[in-house]
Subunit: 346 residues, 2 copies
DNA sequence: TTGTAGGCGTTATCAC
DNA sequence: GTGATAACGCCTACAA
């Protein structure tokens, strides 16, 4: 016999007060409106009955669902779980829960998911999927829904965001390579319609210029997605284009993994023949052989900071749009080595 | 000006009917109660206004939130993202959304999360965190809430579950090792208070017995958690106990990774000196060096099947409790090799 | 086939 | 300080 859940009315009856009074006593915000004595009586009554407020009813009345939508490309990408945990943990401590939506990079799917979430009255959005021009952003903002971007950012300052400083990260990677003596440095660029792909490529260009190194067209390959498969394809392209690279920087770790595969297939040794650096420092990336040298940033903290920003917005706090950069850090592991003239690429 | 969301009343007014009629027309279940012509009018009116039913109000009325709670130990464990995606995809196609809760294996945290979720009127639970005796299960079931177990199972048939056939999986791993000539086979057992740890250890015991091999106490180590760190500790214990193993089977891939680290530290080569097999075939585990031989099962499908079971329960379908086993499959990679007398463990 | 009315559990706005 | 009342948006007997 599923005992029908105890409601506010039950609590009120047991405490001998009106439901409205019980409501006031139970809500920390309004408790001061009620006498300390009755408040106590209500609280004990609630505890005694094991009262649990019905969030659905509350939402209907208050128009706040205490739910936020989180859109990511794919939970299977190891970059996202720590970010999501950061989000959930920070949001949870303020009584919010997250609805996770995977878009698989598909715009149509993304629209469906957003519809779903808006139907559930989410109080805000965290988007890790932002393309540089995204109609959804405009629409959500128009509807007055707080939006925070994560990992990627919009092209202007129109949305708050939390990202790593991508340009600086790539510069650190390139400096590392040049300090090892590398000059013919190839680059596997990520998709240029997302800010990470674009900013990192820009970082590569400025870093090479700063080192007085020229970029040959044959030493840059553009991936159509941040995937192992595309990394493999691009690396193969670099290897067969006669570019003679002694080092390759990849737009992210997935692309770097694909690069590993291409090197193995070509019977080239990393790092003896070619050095490789990635970006992101994905979980478990240090278990690869060789362990990947890459640009790290605090994934979990990206999540918590983004949640913090979103909470501020949902609380109606006014002020300028905040764009938060977290500092990257180069993690040197086994995939980069000094230029070795005994082992030319050919 | 955030145009106040369009409601059923607006649609009804535009269609020139009573809200109740509009409701019936909009709900596929009750559409046949209304004349085709009016239904059409309502539908176009709804489309025209961009009407989106308010799920909160609906939930309050129907007591169904179309939300399910999913409890996992930690999203950062790569085993879970594919399972969660399977759950979300299957649930989503029936209009459900998942609330993800990370418990970190902490019972108290788990209780808090469950409370949170019940306050949100979840229609059911998927638990990947089930300990062998779990008061929460009893409570949820008592409250009439459907519960499906995933990856781990309860000790009896009291709950539907979807798991890999753990015993069979371990047997396949051990057979593989013995067929390579290994006889002194060590085992790193997972925690014995969860069904995966227990069932796999049992599988090890029966497999060894079937091969007429004895298990020395010194060849089994018990991990306190399915973690890299515990795998490292246990492997070191096996290596220093004078057990002389030529192969080690690990309770899961994380433990196997820890094993790799211990071997490296001891300057032992895998697989030349010692073969290692894991369990789970985690994503990216094939990128390790050497690529890990392990027992695979279809993670995504575990999620979809569990969702299917839960949906049946939430639809009130009666019948016997279903306990679903998915077949394991041995994936032979580079971490296992024939027993090589030229390379004794010492 | 359609309209009426009441209520799901909570909170905001009045009065007292 | 507390009680009464209405309303959030939707669904569903019941009546017409």
């Amino acid at each position: 016999m599923p005992e029908t859940a105890t409601t506010l009315k039950d609590v009120a009856r047991l405490a001998g007060v009106h439901p409205a009074t019980a409501s006031r006593a139970l809500n920390p915000e309004t408790r001061l409106l009620v006498s300390e004595e009755t408040a106590g009586r209500v609280l004990t009554a609630a505890a005694q009955l094991g009262y649990r407020p019905n969030t659905v009813a509350r939402s209907l009345r208050t128009k706040k669902s205490h739910t936020v939508g989180v859109l990511i490309p794919d939970l299977n990408n190891p970059l996202f779980p720590p970010i999501v945990r950061g989000l959930e943990d920070r949001l949870g401590s303020d009584g919010y829960v997250a609805l996770i939506g995977n878009t698989d990079g598909d715009n149509e799917r993304e629209l469906r998911v957003i519809e779903q979430m808006r139907a559930r009255n989410v109080d805000g959005f965290v988007l890790a999927t932002a393309h540089l021009r995204n109609p959804i952003l405009a629409e959500a903002a128009e509807a007055g829904l707080p939006v925070v971007l994560v990992n990627r950012m919009a092209s202007d300052y129109s949305f708050p965001s939390v990202t790593v400083d991508n340009e600086r990260g790539v510069k650190m990677a390139i400096s590392h390579l040049t300090s090892l003596g590398h000059q013919r440095i190839g680059y596997i660029a990520g998709p240029q319609d997302v800010s990470t792909g674009l900013a990192r490529y820009r970082g590569f260009q400025t870093a090479m210029a700063a080192a007085h190194l020229e970029i040959q067209p044959s030493t840059v390959a553009f991936a159509r997605a941040f995937s192992v498969q595309e990394g493999y394809r691009c690396a193969k392209q670099l290897l067969t284009s006669g570019s003679d690279c002694t080092a390759v920087a990849a737009g992210n770790d997935m692309l770097a993994i694909g690069c590993y595969e291409a090197l193995e297939e070509a019977r080239l040794n990393c790092p003896a023949d070619i050095s490789v650096v990635g970006f992101n420092n994905m979980p478990f990336i240090d278990m690869l052989r060789p362990p990947l040298t890459t640009v790290a940033f605090p994934h979990y903290q990206v999540g918590t900071e983004a949640a913090q920003l979103l909470i501020e917005l949902m609380n109606g706090e006014q002020g300028p749009v905040k764009v938060l950069y977290l500092a990257p850090e180069l993690v040197v592991r086994g995939s980069t080595a000094p230029l070795n003239s005994a082992h030319p690429a050919h």
